[in-house]
C-alpha cells in the first residue's frame, strides 16, 4: 500500500515538546473506509498524533499524508477534506443548535439547498429534531456530542478525526454514538478515533495501542487478543491493591494488575497458577471470594505488551 491510495499514511512521525517526546517515531497506514482506533491511557500521545494529522501541530520530524496531501505542508488543503472533533465539547455553548450548524456550514462552504438538506440530516442524525432554537450549551452532553459530530461532517469529508469523542457520557449515549460512527464508515468515510475505553476499542476494525508516545501494537482486536498466549485468572478479593502487592514475586505468577474491583493475574499455567494465587493470598490474610479463568481482554493485552517492552503504563 502506498500513500497514494491509503486514507492516512504516517512514517516515523515524531513530536517533541522541549525534552519531552510526546510522539515517538510512529508509523501506520489507514485504509479508506476503515474505523481505525488509537487506544492508550492519557498522555500516550493519541491527541498529539491527531493534532499533527489535522494540521493543528507541526511534527518535529517524520512525514505523513492525509488524503494524499502532505502533513505540515498542505494543511489548508487537508482541512478541506477532513472533519475533526476535539476532546472537549467545542461547539459554541452560547449559540443555538441552528446557529452552530450554520457557522460550520459557512466555514466549510456548505450553502443554499445543500445547507438545508445537511441541516435536516444533522438534526435527524443527532436525534435533536425540533431543538434547533435551543442554545447548544443547554443540551445534555450526549446530544452535544452528536451535534458536534454532525457539525464535523456537514461537508461530508472523506476522512474524520475523533479525539476521545465519548469521554464523559454514559454507556447508552456512547453506544448511540458508535452506531453513528459505524454508519459513517459504512458510507465510505474513513474514521480515526482515539479512546481510552477498552470496550469501545472493540468496535474498531484495527487498533493502534499507544503508550508513552510509542505505538506498541497494531492489529484487529481479535488478533491483538491472540497475542496473549498465557491464561488469565480473575480473582475476586476483599482488598485488591494489597492483593496485587501480595502476588509480587510469587512462583508461577507472571503479573497481577487491578481490573475494576477485581484482579487480573497472568499465570504460566491455569491449574498451577490457581493454587499458587490462593496460597499466596491466604498466607497474607486476604479473603479470596472466587478465582476463574477468563478470556483476555484488550486491557490485559495492553498491560502485558507494555510489560513485555519493559515499560510502565503511563497515566
Amino acid at each position: 500500500m502506498t500513500e497514494k491510495n491509503a486514507a492516512i499514511e504516517v512514517r516515523e512521525l515524531t513530536r517533541r515538546f522541549g525534552s519531552f517526546t510526546a510522539v515517538d517515531r510512529v508509523s501506520f497506514s489507514v485504509r479508506r473506509g476503515e474505523v481505525f482506533g488509537f487506544l492508550g491511557p492519557n498522555g500516550a500521545g493519541k491527541t498529539t498524533t491527531i493534532r499533527m494529522l489535522t494540521g493543528l501541530l507541526r511534527p518535529t520530524s517524520g512525514e505523513g499524508w492525509v488524503a494524499g496531501l502532505e502533513v505540515g505542508r498542505q494543511s489548508a488543503a487537508i482541512r478541506e477534506r477532513i472533519g475533526y472533533m476535539s476532546q472537549r465539547f467545542s461547539l459554541y455553548a452560547d449559540l443555538t443548535v441552528d446557529e452552530n450548524i450554520e457557522l460550520f456550514a459557512g466555514l466549510y462552504g456548505v450553502t443554499g439547498e445543500l445547507l438545508a438538506s445537511r441541516r435536516r440530516w444533522v438534526l435527524a442524525m443527532a436525534g435533536i429534531e425540533g431543538q434547533g432554537g435551543r442554545l447548544a450549551g443547554e443540551l445534555p452532553l450526549g446530544w452535544k456530542q452528536r451535534l458536534a459530530l454532525g457539525c464535523a461532517v456537514l461537508h461530508e469529508p472523506p476522512i474524520l478525526f475523533l479525539d476521545e469523542p465519548t469521554s464523559g457520557v454514559d454507556p447508552v449515549a456512547r453506544r448511540a454514538f458508535w452506531d453513528l460512527i459505524d454508519g459513517l464508515a459504512a458510507g465510505g468515510t474513513t474514521v480515526l478515533v482515539s479512546t481510552h475505553y477498552m470496550e469501545e476499542a472493540e468496535n474498531c476494525h484495527r487498533l493502534a495501542l499507544m503508550n508513552r508516545g510509542r505505538l506498541i501494537a497494531l492489529d484487529s482486536p481479535t488478533a491483538l487478543r491472540a497475542l496473549l498466549d498465557l491464561p488469565i485468572l480473575e480473582v475476586a478479593t476483599d482488598d485488591a491493591p494489597r492483593a496485587v502487592e501480595a502476588l509480587k514475586g510469587v512462583d508461577g505468577v507472571v503479573e497481577a494488575a487491578m481490573f475494576g474491583r477485581a484482579l487480573h493475574v497472568l499465570v504460566e499455567d491455569a491449574a498451577g497458577g490457581r493454587a499458587a494465587v490462593a496460597a499466596a493470598l491466604a498466607g497474607r490474610g486476604r479473603r479470596v471470594d472466587a478465582i476463574r479463568e477468563v478470556p483476555p481482554s484488550l486491557e490485559d493485552v495492553f498491560v502485558a505488551l507494555v510489560r513485555r517492552e519493559g515499560g510502565v503504563v503511563a497515566g
Binding site: 493543528l56 489548508a76 475533526y84 467545542s90 459554541y92 446557529e99 456550514a105 466555514l107 462552504g109 450553502t111
Partner: protein, 375 residues
C-alpha cells in the same frame, strides 16, 4: 495563494455578532461604557472656572459702574453674590472662602471715563488657590478689556487707547470642553476598541472552541477580519453616539466633515481592534488579555496623547514616545474636524498615521494568530 472567501468571513462575523449580543458584559462594554466615560470625564475634567462667587463694592453707583458689574455677570464666569459697603467688609468673606474675588469700583469711575481719563478698578482675589486666582484674573482682564472697547465704540472717548486685543481661535468662548470632548471620544475609543477584542481570541482558546475553528478551512485573515467586522460597526456607532451626546450635552460644535471623521475613525478602529486581537492572541487568557489591553491603551491614551498634558511641555524622551501612541494622531484628527473643520491638507499627516496604524494593527493580529495549538 490564498483568497478571501466571503462565505467563511461572513460566517465568522455573524457568529461573533450573535455571541456579542448574548454577552451582557460585552454589550455593556460596547454601549454603556462609552456614554458613562463621556459624561463622567466630560463633567469631571474641565479647566474652566464658572460662576466664581464675586463680591461687589460699588462706590460709584452710576449707570457705567452698573454696566461693568453686569458685564462680569453676563460673562458667566462670575456671579455677584454679595454687595458690600467697603472693601474691608470683604476680608472675612474671602478668608472663609465664601467669596473668590471682590470687584471694587472707586467713586468717580463714570466721571473719569467720560473725561477720557484712566479709570482704574480693583479686583481682590483669593490667592489660596493660585490656579483659580490666575484664571479668574485673566477672565477679569478680558471682561474689563471688552468693556473698555464697548466704551470706546460708543464714542465716549475721543482718543483710542492702545488695547491688547486677545482673540482666541477655534474655541472663541475658551470652553475647555470643546477641547476635551473631541479628545475624549478618541481616548474612549482607544480603550473600548482594544478591550472589546482583547477578549475575543482568548475566550476561544479558554473554551476550546479555537481548536475546532482551527481545524476548519477558515484562513486566519478571514477569521481576524470576520471577528473585527462587528466590533468595527459597534465602534463606529459608539463614535456617532458620543459625538451626538457631546454636541447635545456639552454643546460641542462639529464644524468639519462627518465623512472625514468616519473615514479616520474606521482606520483608527481597525488599528485599535487589531491591537486588541494581537494582545488576545498573545495571552490566550481573557483576564490577562483584558489587563494588558488596559495597560497598553488606557494610560498612553490618557497621558501621552496630548489629551491632558501638552506634548510640547513633556521631556524629550516622553515626547519621542508619544509618536507611537496612536491616540495622539486620532485626537489630532477629532479636534481638527470638530473645532477647525480642518480638511485633508491640514490632516494628512494624521491620516497617514492612521493608515499606518491600521496596517500595523491588522498585520500584528494576523501574524500573532497561529492556528496551531502549541507555539
Amino acid at each position: 495563494m490564498m483568497r478571501l472567501d466571503a462565505v467563511r468571513l461572513w460566517a465568522v462575523a455573524r457568529k461573533e455578532w450573535l455571541q456579542l449580543r448574548r454577552d451582557p458584559r460585552s454589550m455593556a462594554l460596547a454601549f454603556l461604557l462609552p456614554v458613562l466615560m463621556l459624561v463622567l470625564f466630560g463633567y469631571a475634567i474641565t479647566w474652566d472656572i464658572r460662576d466664581l462667587r464675586l463680591g461687589l463694592v460699588d462706590h460709584d453707583g452710576t449707570q457705567s459702574s452698573r454696566a461693568l458689574a453686569d458685564a462680569f455677570e453676563a460673562s458667566g464666569f462670575f456671579r455677584i453674590v454679595e454687595r458690600l459697603e467697603q472693601p474691608r467688609d470683604a476680608d472675612g468673606l474671602l478668608d472663609r472662602g465664601q467669596l473668590a474675588a471682590v470687584l471694587v469700583i472707586p467713586p468717580g469711575f463714570a466721571r473719569d471715563l467720560a473725561a477720557g481719563r484712566r479709570a482704574p478698578v480693583q479686583l481682590l482675589l483669593d490667592g489660596a488657590d493660585a490656579n483659580t486666582a490666575t484664571i479668574a484674573q485673566s477672565y477679569a482682564d478680558a471682561i474689563v478689556a471688552r468693556y473698555s472697547l464697548d466704551v470706546v465704540l460708543q464714542g465716549r472717548r475721543l482718543v483710542l487707547p492702545v488695547q491688547p486685543e486677545v482673540r482666541i481661535w477655534y474655541n472663541p468662548t475658551l470652553e475647555s470642553r470643546h477641547m476635551i470632548v473631541p479628545g475624549l471620544i478618541a481616548v474612549i475609543m482607544s480603550i473600548i476598541a482594544a478591550m472589546l477584542t482583547s477578549l475575543t481570541i482568548a475566550r476561544e482558546w479558554e473554551r476550546g472552541t479555537m481548536e475546532q475553528l482551527a481545524a476548519t478551512p477558515v484562513h486566519r485573515l478571514e477569521l481576524i477580519l470576520g471577528k473585527l467586522l462587528p466590533y468595527l460597526l459597534i465602534g463606529l456607532f459608539d463614535v456617532a453616539m458620543t459625538t451626538v451626546l457631546g454636541m447635545l450635552i456639552f454643546g460641542v460644535p462639529l464644524r468639519g466633515d462627518v465623512l472625514q471623521l468616519a473615514a479616520a475613525t474606521t482606520l483608527f478602529l481597525t488599528g485599535a481592534l487589531g491591537l486588541g486581537i494581537f494582545i488576545s492572541a498573545m495571552f490566550r487568557s481573557q483576564l490577562l488579555a483584558m489587563q494588558a489591553a488596559m495597560v497598553a491603551t488606557y494610560l498612553p491614551a490618557l497621558i501621552l496623547s496630548g489629551f491632558i498634558f501638552e506634548i510640547s511641555g513633556m521631556p524629550a524622551v516622553l515626547r519621542a514616545v508619544t509618536y507611537v501612541v496612536p491616540a495622539r494622531y486620532f485626537i489630532g484628527v477629532t479636534r481638527g474636524i470638530f473645532l477647525k473643520a480642518a480638511g485633508f491638507e491640514a490632516l494628512w499627516v494624521h491620516g497617514v498615521s492612521m493608515i499606518i496604524f491600521a496596517t500595523v494593527g491588522l498585520a500584528l493580529a494576523t501574524l500573532s494568530f497561529r492556528k496551531e495549538i502549541a507555539r
